[in-house]
Every structure is written in structure tokens, then in C-alpha cells.
């Protein structure tokens, strides 16, 4: 299974189309804060853009390990899938992720987790984001 990678961030123009379409498709919400991917600046707009995105951990998956109810299930190929029914909203996964790629949605009381669907890559005009088989 393919996973999402931010491979060419030097080409990012900061349009945030990835965030807009992720929130639209996966959360059916207009707010970019509902996106599972985040584009940030490093040192303001004169610096580089960076993507905060699930790194698709394969064997040891910190967020799944700390989940007390097993709501985060390892995804084949890397990363996790969220079983909403089992999630109790403890936010342990949020703190466990070293790259801060899991966001907690206080309105739904659920974490926002990237499921590597690739919609963000599809709407990236410069190919900064790509779905790839390779897990680094």
C-alpha cells in the first residue's frame, strides 16, 4: 500500500490546497485546521515551507502503542487507521507522535489522523507531496 511523503518541499508555494482538500474530503469541513496535513513556515514566509505529515511508521508505531483502547490500528504499509467507535478521546496519541502529525479535534473529541488517501497530493500543484510505495 502506498503512503504519503513530502518529497519536494523546496517547490512548495504555500497555497495550502493540500490542507483545504484534505479537510474537505476527509472531514467534510471548510476549515484547514481539520486537515491531517499541515504546512508551516520555518522562520516566517522568507524561510522554507515544511510539511507536518504522518511519517507512516511501519513496525514500531508510537501512537498505536499508547492507545489504551486499540482505536488506532496499524495500517498495512505504514501508519494507522482510526476506529472512531473505540476512541475515548484521551489524546495520548497526540503526545506520542514525535513529529506532531496527529491533531485533536475538540469539537468531535477525536484525533485527526492521516490515512494516506493521497487527496492532498492530487491537489498539490508542484508535486511536493506524493503517494509512494517506498517507506524510508
Amino acid at each position: 500500500m502506498k503512503v504519503l511523503k513530502a518529497v519536494e518541499m523546496n517547490r512548495c508555494i504555500g497555497c495550502l490546497s493540500c490542507m483545504i482538500t484534505c479537510a474537505t474530503v476527509n472531514q467534510q469541513d471548510h476549515s484547514i485546521l481539520k486537515s491531517a496535513i499541515r504546512i508551516k513556515t520555518s522562520g516566517g514566509l522568507t524561510g522554507k515551507f515544511m510539511a507536518i505529515v504522518c511519517q507512516a511508521c511501519k513496525d514500531d508505531v508510537p501512537c498505536a502503542e499508547v492507545c489504551p483502547t486499540g482505536a488506532l490500528v496499524q495500517r498495512k504499509g505504514g501508519g494507522v487507521l482510526l476506529d472512531k467507535e473505540n476512541c475515548v478521546g484521551c489524546e495520548h496519541c497526540v503526545t506520542a507522535c514525535t513529529v506532531d502529525a496527529i491533531y485533536f479535534d475538540h469539537s468531535t473529541k477525536l484525533p485527526i489522523v492521516c490515512k494516506h488517501c493521497g487527496v492532498c497530493a492530487r491537489f498539490c500543484p508542484h508535486g511536493c507531496l506524493q503517494l509512494t510505495e517506498e517507506v524510508q
Partner: protein, 583 residues
């Protein structure tokens, strides 16, 4: 306003610190953006007071579907222009539209004057007016860096700030938005300075559930596709607007050396391609725009013996290359970028600055002013001198630069030489000497900007000139832009957002409007703007057009003032007819 029938307006009174939030159900008929901002300006402005009086408002507004479709990315600012004394209307991209939407406001009305230098933080429902005394006096770029470290919301906030020129109320001071975009024209920076406001930071975390997901996303995708997969936006993405240097020069419409000529001999050295080849290091975009028209040019310069270099990055565009390049006779790309950097850090409108200095140079050459006034031997082509002059202008170094900071019209009236002061109704001209469409368009345009009615495009599109047809085209474009600007769509995307697409985008988010209803809204907005101009005492028939426009040939030859006058009169008649219509 998204999915709602009311406009949420945030009112900030800086004099008292009072904050009010009102839901205005009476404004739905103005759609948003320039419509709502015009209405708010009309009801809060004080025509009897000076433009920089504390009581005057400055208004920011976004549209009903801001931030949720590609290229609906702009925010409109409306105010009374300290430069012209008339309607002030300016647009900026960056992140502001999205952050205002996420903060939950369709419009912000700021009035009064803070008792001390301040900056405003709008964080959703939490509004704070904070102490800006330590950052007062800072350059625009530096203050941005301080604010970034001091205010939370990294990655999802918008930072507006002024430089020293705004603080000193140079009448064409600009407001920098998110480093690379600006409310450039007509002096919003002076308005902020007059209110003691150094910066405004907007952030928020409002979310909005999509109501008709399939409908919305279908339209989103089709617009995204036409933006990224057709050639409609190619010009803006590739070389950017600087491609015009070559095009306009070839037409013989490129104002050069204070419009003593309309063709620049050194143009081939400062074309869009020259900038791209020598300096382009990256492109950037406003939030929600996959085009990426913001071209960042980098250059280095030696500041000491050995290997001591400083490097600078600035955004460049056609208008800046015109005003700080051809109009000043500067024909080196790195020198143009250096002058852009000077207007960036001091916080001035690049067009007005270039035009003011071009007038001063011609005045100096003709002996109207001497080095006793200018302090510098202003010479076309000498960018080092112009760099220093920009700093003098922003800081109002002496009486001469104080007067020049009132605008080129004022300078011409004070020192003489108004016949070659390149302004229309007080606003310095953009970079087109194409013909009657441009000149008349600038005169009758609601905000005297090339973004009113695109008169230059009218000139370029006609082979056989017909003054009546040209006036009709100007009027129709001005009216149509009331629709685009009420949604605050980037005007670069005007070919993407034709009526059909606008209606589709609106309908998919619950605004079921017909084509006729959009026309009615456009007329309502235009009438409001005309009403404001009338209250401010403006009559385009009274505008005195400098002789220079009728001396230097345009692409339609040497212009006849009598034809321009006839066209202006005809345009006014069309406006009167519109005002007499019901609704």
C-alpha cells in the same frame, strides 16, 4: 456569512477600547467584500472631516465564499484616501482572507485613535489592543519578525504592518500583508499610522461543516482544474506580470523617464525573462491559490572589501518594474530590486513612490527644484541616489520631501511642474500609456486605479477606436468588477470566474442567485460607491488631466483632450442613468 444570511462585523474603537460584534442581516443584499465594505464606509465615514481624522473608519472585508475556492483569496480595504481625499479602495492577498474567515468575521471596522502606539490582535472572539511603543519606528520587515515571535498562531495567522512612512503619514504609505502582499495604493498605511496602529494580527480556529459536500467539491475540482490545467492562468504562473515589460514596451505604451517617452531603450535588460533568469529563486501563493504568481527575486551586493555580501529577497511585479525601473530610467534588474527593497522596508506604495521621484527628477532637471530642496542630484538612471531619496521621502527629511509625501499632485501645485505630474485625481498613474481607455478609465474609475475598469485592456483590444464603444466597455467592466470584488476574487482569475462559474460556486454553497440578481447586486454596489464619491465632493468632469498625457504619444497616437473630455462626460451620463434606476 458562509451558509448564513447575515454579515458578522467586528467594530473596534481605538479611542475608547470598546469592541462590538454585530450580526447585520440588513447587508445580505451586498453579498460581501466591496459591497459590504462600501455600505459600512458610507454609514461610518465623516465626509466633513479630513481623511486622517481619528473619527474616520478603516474597513476590511471578505466575501461570502472566501477561502473555500481557488483564487478567492483577497481582502478589500476601504477608507477615505488621504492621497486623493476620495474613496480609498485597496486589495491584498496573502493569508488575510482565510484568517478573517477563520476568526469568524466578514468585516472589521476600525475607528478612533489609540492613545499610544498599539497593535491589534484579533484571535477569534478575543480582541486585544496591545502596546506597540517599542516597535514604533521599526521597518516593515523587522516589525513582522518581532510580531511573529511574540504572537501565537504560527502557520495560520496573518500579519499586517506599516513601516516608518505609515507612522509619518506619508499619504501613499502602504500596509504590508504577510511579507509579500500589500494594501498598496491610496494610503491605507497613513490611515493606520494616524490611528497609532503599527500592526494587526488575525488568527482564529472557527470551523464550518460543508453542507452539500458533493456539490461543493465538484465545483471546487472543476475550478481547480481550469486554473491548473488550462492556459488561463499560465501568464501569472510562468513569468508573472513582468512579462508585460516587453509587451507594453513593444506597443509603445511603457511610461519612461516621467513619460517623456513611451518606449524604454533599456527595456530588454529588465524584462520578465531577465528577472527570471538573473534573480528568480521561488514562487509563492496566497492561501488557497494553486497558481503561485508571487515571484521572489534574490540578489546580493557587496558591502565591504573581501567577501562581504548581503543578500536580499523581494517580490517583483510589472508595476514595480515600471515605477522604479522604466519611469526612473533604471535599466538594471538588481538595481530595480534594490529600490523595491527600499519601498518595502519603509512601507510605501511602489507606484506612487516611483512617480513622485520621476516628477522630482524632471523638476530638478528643469530647475524647478534644486539640490537645496532635493538634497540629492536626482538623475534618471541613478538608482543609488533614488535609494537615498526613498529613505528621505519615507522619513519626510525636509520640507521638500514632506510636500512630496503629500503626493505628486501636491508637489506639482507647490513647486510648479503640475503639467508633468503623472497623477489622475491625485493618484499616481500605473504603468500604461495605452490611450483614451486608460486615461478616461483612471479618471472615472471608482478608486482611480487600473483595477477599476481595465482601461488599458480596452485600448489594447480595439483596433479602430470608437469613443462611445470604449466608454461602454469601461462602464460594463467597472460594473462587473463589483461582482468579482464583492466576492473578493483575485482579478488575475477574472477569466476563470466568468458569470457561469461564479453562479456555480455560489449555488454549491447555498447562495442560489440568478444572473439577473447578480447584476442587480453589482448595480447596488456601484451606486453605493458613486454615492460615497458624491458625498466626498468628487466629479470626474472637474478632474484636470496633466498636459503630459496629451504630449507623449500612446499606442493610439497623440491624445486629444477634447475627446477625453467627451468620453468622461458620456461616462458621467451613464452613471447618472444608473443612479436614476430603481434598486
Amino acid at each position: 456569512m458562509l451558509y448564513e444570511n447575515s454579515i458578522k462585523v467586528l467594530y473596534i474603537d481605538l479611542s475608547t477600547g470598546k469592541i462590538e460584534i454585530k450580526r447585520r442581516t440588513d447587508m445580505a443584499g451586498y453579498l460581501g467584500g466591496v459591497g459590504v465594505a462600501s455600505k459600512l464606509l458610507e454609514e461610518t465615514m465623516r465626509p466633513e472631516l479630513s481623511p486622517l481624522a481619528a473619527e474616520q473608519p478603516m474597513i476590511l472585508a471578505i466575501g461570502a465564499i472566501s477561502g473555500i475556492y481557488p483564487l478567492i483569496t483577497k481582502t478589500v480595504a476601504m477608507f477615505i484616501s488621504p492621497l486623493t481625499g476620495e474613496l480609498g479602495e485597496s486589495y491584498a492577498g496573502g493569508r488575510l482572507a482565510l484568517t478573517l474567515s477563520m476568526a469568524g468575521y466578514d468585516a472589521v471596522v476600525i475607528h478612533g485613535k489609540a492613545p499610544r502606539p498599539s497593535y491589534i490582535v484579533i484571535d477569534g472572539g478575543n480582541i486585544e489592543i496591545k502596546d506597540a511603543r517599542p516597535i514604533w519606528g521599526m521597518d516593515s520587515d523587522v516589525v513582522g519578525q518581532f510580531i511573529r515571535d511574540h504572537v501565537k498562531g504560527s502557520g495560520k495567522r496573518s500579519i499586517l504592518r506599516i513601516g516608518p512612512a505609515g507612522e509619518k503619514m506619508v499619504k501613499f504609505a502602504s500596509v504590508c500583508v504577510d511579507t509579500y502582499r500589500h494594501f498598496g495604493r491610496l494610503g491605507l498605511g497613513a490611515v493606520m499610522g494616524s490611528k497609532h496602529v503599527k500592526a494587526i494580527i488575525v488568527t482564529g480556529d472557527k470551523s464550518t461543516k460543508i453542507k452539500e459536500y458533493k456539490d461543493y467539491f465538484r465545483v471546487y475540482q472543476s475550478i481547480f482544474k481550469s486554473v491548473t490545467e488550462t492556459d488561463l492562468m499560465a501568464k501569472y504562473h510562468d513569468l508573472g506580470t513582468s512579462i508585460n515589460v516587453e509587451v507594453i514596451n513593444a506597443l509603445g505604451a511603457l511610461p519612461t523617464k516621467n513619460l517623456t517617452e513611451s518606449h524604454f531603450d533599456g527595456a530588454e535588460k529588465i524584462t520578465g525573462e531577465a528577472f527570471a533568469n538573473n534573480h528568480l529563486v521561488r514562487k509563492m501563493a496566497c492561501t488557497g491559490c494553486p497558481v503561485g504568481c508571487i515571484h521572489i527575486g534574490q540578489f546580493r551586493q557587496k558591502f565591504d572589501d573581501g567577501y562581504d555580501y548581503e543578500s536580499l529577497s523581494v517580490a517583483y511585479d510589472y508595476e514595480l518594474i515600471y515605477s522604479l525601473g522604466t519611469l526612473l530610467g533604471v535599466s538594471k534588474t538588481d538595481e530595480v530590486l534594490h529600490l523595491i527593497e527600499a519601498v518595502e522596508k519603509t512601507g510605501m506604495d511602489a507606484i506612487s513612490t516611483g512617480v513622485a521621484l520621476a516628477w522630482a527628477t524632471e523638476g530638478f532637471m528643469k530647475g524647478i527644484v534644486t539640490v537645496a530642496e532635493t538634497l540629492l542630484p536626482l538623475t534618471f538612471g541613478d538608482s543609488k541616489i533614488y535609494y537615498q531619496a526613498i529613505l528621505y521621502l519615507a522619513n519626510r527629511k525636509n520640507d521638500f520631501y514632506r510636500v512630496l509625501g503629500e503626493g505628486t499632485r501636491s508637489a506639482g501645485a507647490t513647486y510648479g511642474g503640475k503639467e508633468f505630474a503623472l497623477q489622475v485625481a491625485g493618484n499616481e498613474i500605473p504603468g500604461y500609456h495605452t490611450g483614451y481607455g486608460n486615461l478616461v478609465g483612471l479618471t472615472v474609475g471608482a478608486r482611480h486605479s487600473h483595477l477599476c475598469n481595465a482601461g488599458y485592456a480596452v485600448d489594447q483590444s480595439i483596433s479602430t477606436f470608437d469613443e462611445n464603444k470604449a466608454v461602454d466597455a469601461l462602464f460594463m467592466e467597472e460594473l462587473e468588477r463589483c461582482v468579482l470584488n464583492s466576492l473578493v476574487i483575485c482579478l488575475f482569475a477574472r477569466k476563470v470566474y466568468n458569470r457561469e462559474t461564479v453562479l456555480k460556486a455560489l449555488n454549491a454553497t447555498g447562495y442560489v442567485l440568478t444572473d439577473n440578481e447578480l447584476t442587480t447586486i453589482a448595480k447596488r454596489i456601484y451606486k453605493t460607491k458613486l454615492g460615497i464619491k458624491e458625498k466626498l465632493g468628487f466629479d470626474p468632469r472637474q478632474v484636470v488631466l496633466p498636459e503630459r498625457f496629451f504630449k507623449t504619444p500612446s499606442i493610439h497616437g497623440t491624445l486629444d483632450p477634447l475627446i477625453a473630455e467627451r468620453m468622461i462626460n458620456r461616462y458621467v451620463e451613464k452613471c447618472l442613468l444608473l443612479l436614476s434606476e430603481e434598486n
